[in-house]
């Protein structure tokens, strides 16, 4: 999907290394390569899903895109310009909702509207409330404006989080396993709604998930990351034809085939990770199998 001249998002041989705190086994400390040589272009308006074994660096990649961290090697480009920090042109939806518990649903949604917007203008209190209502309505939560997060169900909280990230009208939506904590029914419902929102707003969406079904169902392409260090193993284009119909896409032959393809790729990686002993990861983030590299060598 590189038919537009400048991709919305472009990752150019991006690598990210973490310094692991000194432990008993490695008193000098060591480094951990979370991402290595990632090259990926995402077109404007594309819906890309990202799968990979646990610890393969999906969240790390999302943080780089959000501008929360900087890459150690390579470049992250947005509209051809290097990302230097967070900004209101991108929004992040986290797995654990991350709502502000002391704010009502409406106040949470208008959080990103306070302060100067992308065009430098400030909205009045009335305008903010109006927008919050509009976006709560969009995610199907009209009438819940004055509820506090602890008064909402998990699905509702995630809807509020989505409304909050949509409210300040970012061009890119970065979602880190947003539906993982929800029950199957709510998840399906929200997937449906996310697709609807994507179609109506034309946002570029990068969606991380553990679910192969979810990845194939939502994504126009599914990017598969390898186990640590995270490299881009393959990008699977998904072609399911017209999805607006009433048919059950998930039992469609094409869907099943794509699903199997992604499953096989991922299964390989999970096996590899297990054989390497990656299943046993210590609380400090190191895996016992991993030969710790001396800090000085890699960082330089």
């Amino acid at each position: 999907m590189t038919h537009s001249p400048i991709p919305k998002i472009s990752l150019q041989s991006v690598g990210k290394t973490f310094t692991v705190r000194p432990t008993k086994d490695a008193p000098a400390g060591s480094t951990l390569t979370a991402l290595d040589g990632i090259n990926l272009d995402v077109a404007a308006g594309e819906f890309l899903t990202l799968v990979g074994p646990s610890g393969s660096g999906k969240t790390t990649l999302l943080d780089l895109l959000a501008g929360l961290t900087r890459p150690d090697t390579g470049k992250v480009l947005l509209d051809g310009k290097e990302v230097t920090g967070p900004g209101k042109d991108r929004a992040v939806v986290f797995q654990q909702y991350a709502l502000f518990p002391w704010r009502t649903a409406a106040a949470n949604v208008s959080f990103g509207l306070e302060g100067p917007g992308q065009d430098g203008k400030r909205l009045s209190r009335r305008e903010r409330a109006e927008k919050a209502r509009t976006y709560l309505d969009l995610v199907g939560l009209a009438g819940f404006e004055d509820r506090y997060p602890h008064e909402l169900s998990g699905g509702m909280k995630q809807r509020v989080a989505i409304a909050r990230s949509l409210a300040y009208e970012p061009e890119v939506l970065l979602m880190d396993e947003p539906f993982a904590a929800l029950d199957a029914q709510t998840r399906e419902q929200l997937q449906e709604e996310l697709l609807r929102i994507w179609r109506t707003t034309g946002k570029t969406i990068i969606f991380i998930t553990h679910g192969i079904d979810e990845a194939v169902y939502l994504g126009q392409r599914v990017a598969v990351l390898s186990s640590r260090p995270g490299r881009l193993k393959e990008i699977v284009p998904v072609n399911l034809g017209d999805r607006t119909g009433d048919i059950d896409i998930r039992s469609d032959a094409a869907f099943v085939e794509h699903r199997h393809q992604v499953w096989a790729l991922l299964h390989d990686e999970v096996l590899k990770a297990q054989q390497a002993g990656h299943a046993k990861i210590l609380p400090d983030g190191t895996a016992p199998d991993e030969a710790p590299q001396p800090t000085s060598g890699k960082a330089a």
């Binding site: 929360l68 209101k88 991350a98 704010r103 959080f111 997060p149 602890h150």
Partner: protein, 303 residues
Amino acid sequence: MSAPTLTTDTHSTAQAPATPTTAGDAARRRRPAPATGLSLLKQGAQNGGRALWRPGAILLFLLLWELGPLYLAPSSTRVFLPPLHDVLGALGALIAKGQLQNHLVASLTRSASGFGIAVVSAVVLGLLVAWYGALDRFLNPLLEVFRNTAALALLPVFTLLLGIGETSKISIVAYAAFFPVLLNTIAGVRTVDPLLIRAARSLGLSNFTLFQKVILPSAVPTIFTGIRMAGTSSILVLIAAEMVGAKAGLGYLIVNSQSSFLIPEMYAGILTVSLLGLAVNYLLVGVERHFSRWRTAVGSGNG
């Protein structure tokens, strides 16, 4: 949590007189030996007992205070431990003469001033310490030393340096109230959910806005816990300070009554102190609860 129990209670009391036989039958079927009347009595006693259970210990204590000195203690002790009605009489007399009010106002003014100074300065310093790691590393050892020095141990120092006037008393109250607020402010800022900080950061918030919109609101309930603790300790320390050197205040009332051998007046002063402590605590618990409203779900989920 108490609601379901309450409904079962009213249900059974309403039904018991209407259908005594069924209740008795049920009891007999379960346990054949005891008499029917006894089980009804037991139930009635249980319902009445539950209403009395909470204030029960206090009532018992007051009863002991009233009757103990009259019937149990030797008359020599009775002088030092007058029965409750004597103490209440003395309290009434103190109020009628307006003396109690004067002492109360003196104490309240001092503790409120010291408490206010402590809260403002401790919150400000706490926010600074929690935000600037370097300041924390620098100040922490010193704060640790002061925090673990009992405020009352420093009372002579305060008196020597600031005299026995208002300044020294307000200062020691401020000192005692300072540390709970400081430590809780630091803890409140430190325990802000990192995910919320990430969420706010992803919006490109500046440090100042992040502080104002995320860290402070999230720390407020913990800060108010510190304020409540400070309120209790400020009264505690003030009474002690007033006992050592003062011309008014509840602590002075207690010590002065003792040395003038006005024993019922002394107990009236003590009673006032504990009532004042209770009132302050209830007030501050209410304030704390008000500011932790959004956390209520967490609390009831655990309890």
